[in-house]
Assembly symmetry: C3
Homo-oligomer: 203 residues x 3
């Protein structure tokens, strides 16, 4: 399997995980299945959609590749069938979510660079790809978005994205860069949650 294929498959996996997390967030708020499906969908595609609009890649990604819709349908189905079980899998979901944001960050960077934009913009768009779906999910489920709360969520994507680009300057193999970036993001999130790292608020 080539790196391209690997990234594509894991991208689909990230879409699945985000759809599940959107469904679970919605079902906690006693929505009906239709509303919950809408939120699962928006959580899964929100970040990539905003990125595509800003850089001008239209029709947006999930419109031109049906596999994304299938992944979202699968995520909704799994959320519906295994809701109780999945909610217990907190650590597994946290792990998948971290892998998801890591890969969405990298994909967002690569796509933005392919449009001839600068690395700074690419890191910003990578982060947007990774976190904006979650922001919409939290907003629609009437919670203060995660990135405006204590956890170092977006920061992990931003610094992970910079790591990915810096490693590229040293000609590190792309597979290795992807793995190191994802490991970095997972590690930073675990450590920050464990030690309750957070920025101080502005005085």
């Amino acid at each position: 399997m080539s790196t391209q294929e690997l990234v594509y498959f894991i991208d689909l996996g990230g879409t699945l995980v985000f759809a599940i997390s959107g469904w679970l967030a919605a079902s906690k708020k006693q929505m009906d299945p239709f509303g919950a499906s809408v939120i699962a969908f928006i959580t899964a595609v929100g970040g990539g959609t905003l990125r595509d609009l800003l850089i001008g890649s239209q029709p947006v990604g999930w419109m031109v590749d049906q596999n994304y819709l299938l992944m979202i349908a699968g995520g909704i189905g799994l959320g519906f069938l295994f809701k109780r079980y999945l909610e217990k899998l907190r650590k597994t979901m946290f792990l998948f979510d971290s892998i998801g944001i890591g890969l969405f960050t990298i994909l967002g960077i690569e796509k933005t660079l392919s449009f001839g934009l600068t690395p700074v913009i690419a890191v910003m768009m990578g982060t947007v790809s990774a976190v904006f779906g979650g922001v919409l999910r939290d907003t629609l489920a009437n919670e203060v978005p995660l990135i405006f709360r204590q956890e170092i969520y977006a920061t992990a994507c931003l610094t992970g994205g910079i790591l990915f680009l810096v490693l590229g300057q040293f000609n590190v193999n792309v597979d290795v860069r992807i793995i190191l970036t994802v490991i970095y993001i997972i590690a930073l999130r675990i450590v920050s949650v464990k030690y309750k790292w957070s920025f101080p608020t502005i005085k």
Copy 2:
């Protein structure tokens, strides 16, 4: 009058009705006329604008055909002059609103297909065209959006859109397909309101 012209005129009519509904929603919240006009405008064009952005049809529709702005101005004027009277016309407004979402669904489907996208995406974009303006209206007027509450609103558009496409497979004349789809959506909404149909919430 050709089918094209008919659809165009009824699209303008839908824009008018949505502008009125936005104005009425805003005026209940004691906004000033400027804020209410903004909400009327957003209600009328919100759905089509999101659709156009996602499929990449820019400048968005209402920018390149002045008649849409005239319809919105007319809706605001009617809302201003006949507020009390229109609020009593609940059933008439419900009927117009149903015709409006039916036609917006069909127009959204046709436009999306003309961009070479799949029927599944087209039905989704048809629904977005029909319901997103109302979602923005409810959000801006600080109410929980209608589609996240009990009424079978978006479902009517989704299934109506599928009906429209399926009838097309059987070579049904397009005028007949439009009429049947709109009748279906009106009937489903009336029946669902009358019998208080709703999805159960997720347990």
Copy 3:
């Protein structure tokens, strides 16, 4: 210095001022520096971004000219270092903010016209350029957006934009048109605040 250069430099100045105002709004809400930076960024680029998406100018403006990012970084830095001092400079900030919305209005109009759209659409897009960043700032900081409250904010942009176009019909020199429009907007805002002008709410 040519008019082009002048407008460009003042546009950068407007970006700086909006970034500061976003930071100050966020810091009142006890956000962490990351969240406050995001809000400063969105305040500064929000209006121009929505305008660019609607007219189809992508990648959006701040992605293709790094100076905008530098201005925003500068605004965040100034907000961080001189928060207490800047909050006392209410009148100066009000003046800069008025100059900012005036120039954003004019720039939005010129850019929209250059896409072959009508003057009516251009004035609307000018106003969107000027006010939408502030709407997002207020929404994210959980306040009712300024334009939905009493102050005649958006109206100043709308009428100022019309003034700018009308003066153009009389072949007034563009430098003079810019200065007159900005003076008009500043004057209208000062007078409307002083005499507590506001639209009556709809009865």
